[in-house]
Amino acid sequence: MTQKYELVVVGGGPAGMAAALRARDCGVKSIVILERAETLGGILEQCIHTGFGLHYFNEELSGPEYAARFSLLVEQSDIEIKTDTMVINISNENIVTAVNKTDGLIDISAKAIILAMGCREKPRGALNIAGTRAAGIMTAGTAQKYVNINGYLPGKKVVILGSGDIGLIMARRMTLEGAEVKMVCELMPYSSGLTRNIVQCLEDYNIPLKLSTTVIEIHGKERVEGVTIAKVDRNRRPIKGTEEYVECDTLLLSVGLIPENELSNAMGIALDPITGGPVVRENRETTQSGVFACGNVLHVHDLVDFVTVESQTAGEGAARYILGQFEEDAYITTKGMDGVRYVVPQRINLNCNRDVKLFFRVGQAYKNAVIYVENNDEVILSRRRPKLAPGEMEDVVIKNEVLKELPVNGELVIRVEVQT
């Protein structure tokens, strides 16, 4: 039998919870959240460090505390929650097929769907590192789960490849638990992690960060015994003669996150090749009518605070769709150029009647840069930025009155210029 809801939210992490709560506040009556894990909260449950909530709550919380602020509201509301439930398909008629131990296989029909599945880490297979398949090679997030949830220390002498935030956080975490973290190697000449994490996770514990360095071989038969690292040139190729053997029993990978879009892809939703997430308009509706996306499934965010705000936008968008509050179509597309890798949202309805925040990332580090937003070579607005880094998401707000003046079917370009 098909169950019926106005709104189905796929994923009960910070994105799914914020979207569901906002949709409910906007008047949506029947909402169900489908969550794969046994509790709400998503990845925040294992992110026990602090730094969450500084923007949204104006106080510094740990991951579980941030998640609890929302899960308590969800649990007190009439929003239904199905945990231990895995969505296996979404049809083009918006039928969500899911499976769990109590209901078995269930079909849920929805007026609107919000995709909030988050992202996952790039595994070793994505890197092509030579060597054996010894035990002791895992992503930083896997190690985080072992240490913070299960209570295992996955190794005693650790090398971390990639300076993403999870890798930096785990360098500190494993040090506190008695492991020796020998170094963090980063392929690029800059770190992709937040500066504060380099200071308080590496410098505080004298852990070296080796830039323009990568792991070229993993040694050990049953268990990792060491790795060979090497400096890389400007084209990221290892430089002969710079090889160095480092003894270790564990290699953690923190080399990037990929939005988890198997469901979106299977239902034919257009994905942005750069973000890896769906192409959306300003209310976070995908190219499939009535299907919205928010959080790390859409594009990888630096801070959960930004995920919350974006997911509220998606929740409101889904509510307006369910309640039949539509705007007349009049779109403009957005595009990143000259150093701007991507822009989200990719489309804006000029009749949306609100200020629209555009999120973007640059492809390299800049100092004394100016961000220009242009339409037909005419500068709409410019913003000075003393520094820009690929690891830190940027945003600009386009005012509603400015949007209303833009031509339908036009293009809004964001680009970076260095001031000389």
Binding site: I48, G51, L54, S62, T195, R196, D204
Partner: protein, 121 residues
């Protein structure tokens, strides 16, 4: 004497320049965008502190551990000693967010508190 640092009070990460007297007293703080940055710079030059986050063992809980943190930042030099003390205790489920796990750790005047619930099995 001049000192350059990056503020870790929040994820913005302002670059701060501090001028210190010969005796190590803070004379000027520049580059920060908020009051928290000024406070951070002064503490960092005189007596650096950090918020500690780790886990504590739980008996009869649905999970074997509960995440904890220091209620306030504690002196940087005491972080590893605090972890050793926290690893030596075991609390009994159920645990609620905000429960005090260890009072006044190492006489710092700071309590170690739980940051998640842990249900009884």
């Amino acid at each position: 004497m001049k000192r350059e640092m990056i503020c870790v009070a929040c994820p913005v990460g302002c670059g701060i320049s501090i001028e210190l007297s010969d005796k190590g007293a803070v004379l000027t703080v520049a580059g920060n965008q908020c009051k928290r940055g000024e406070n951070y710079a002064i503490t960092e030059c005189t007596a650096p502190t950090r918020t500690l986050t780790t886990t504590a063992k739980v008996k009869d809980g649905r999970n074997p551990l509960v995440p904890v943190r220091s209620g306030k930042p504690i002196p940087k030099g005491l972080l590893l000693d605090c972890v050793k003390i926290i690893n030596s205790v075991e609390v009994t489920a159920p645990v609620e967010i905000g429960d005090v796990i260890i009072e006044n750790i190492l006489n710092t005047g700071v309590d170690i508190i739980a940051t998640n619930i842990c249900c009884h099995i």
